[in-house]
């Protein structure tokens, strides 16, 4: 099967709606088809990968740890838009330190999060063959 460039665009905060969890599930399914997958976190989507999420007070499952497993599924390009963080009073330090292991480099852990500005994000989107928006 031909490999295509897939991008999942995440624009919603987690827990208030089902979009974030549904996106994550489709992302994991796409990994099984060995596609060239990228994730974009823009607007409120940046809240999906904040560190220290604790859902005990709202009675919902905390699925933030699943993002840490994406590297094991060869999903290692998580584009985060700088402007979206800034508008929300956040910095990269507020995000989980997501990594993937490079088997060609003695399984060294390398960062999966790629910080881009709005115009760079537009360029990444323009390169995609399939875009799925959540």
């Amino acid at each position: 099967m031909a490999t295509k460039k897939f991008m999942f665009v995440n624009r919603k905060a987690p827990y208030g709606t089902a979009y974030a969890l549904e996106s994550l599930e489709v992302v994991l399914i796409s990994a099984a088809f060995e596609q060239d997958v990228s994730l974009a976190f823009i607007d409120d989507g940046v809240y999906q990968i904040t560190k220290g999420q604790d859902t005990t007070g709202i009675g919902q499952k905390n699925f933030s740890n699943t993002y840490k497993a994406l590297g094991d599924y060869e999903i290692k390009k998580l584009y985060v838009e700088k402007e979206s963080l800034e508008e929300r009073g956040l910095t990269q330090d507020d995000l989980m330190p997501l990594v993937w292991e490079d088997e060609d480099d003695d399984w060294a852990e390398k960062p999966s999060i790629i910080m881009v500005n709005r115009s760079e994000m537009a360029d990444v989107m323009a390169e995609q063959e399939v875009t799925l928006s959540f």
Binding site: A13, P14, D43, D44, D54, G57, I58, E87, G89, D94
Partner: protein
């Protein structure tokens, strides 16, 4: 007639939070729940709008919704009070009426 205004949408995504603040009266209360909780943070593109409104209204946030999104209460705008579900119930009792800004 004090009113409790309940907001559940992110101020960065929908206009409902702004619309709520544009319609509150002195002495009303505003409670942020679900995705609206992200609006409680200091230093955002929305915080000045909320701080201006706080001269007239009391502002609360459901603490569980804040920490679920990885945001700690010590990063809130000064003067916002975090409440739990029991506090949510108290607010509905203390106010004569409630309005949900969906």
């Amino acid at each position: 007639m004090a009113m409790l205004h309940i907001v559940n949408k992110s101020p960065f995504e929908k206009v409902s939070f702004r619309s709520c603040l544009n319609h509150v009266k002195v002495g009303d209360s505003v409670l942020m729940i679900e995705d609206a909780a992200v609006g409680a943070l200091e230093g955002t593109s929305f915080s000045e709008k909320l701080k201006t409104a706080m001269g007239d209204v009391s502002v609360y946030v459901l603490g569980g919704d804040l920490v679920a999104r990885g945001l700690s209460e010590d990063r809130m705008i000064d003067g916002i009070k975090a409440v739990d579900y029991a506090g949510f119930v108290d607010l509905t009792v203390e106010n004569e009426t409630t309005q949900s800004w969906l």
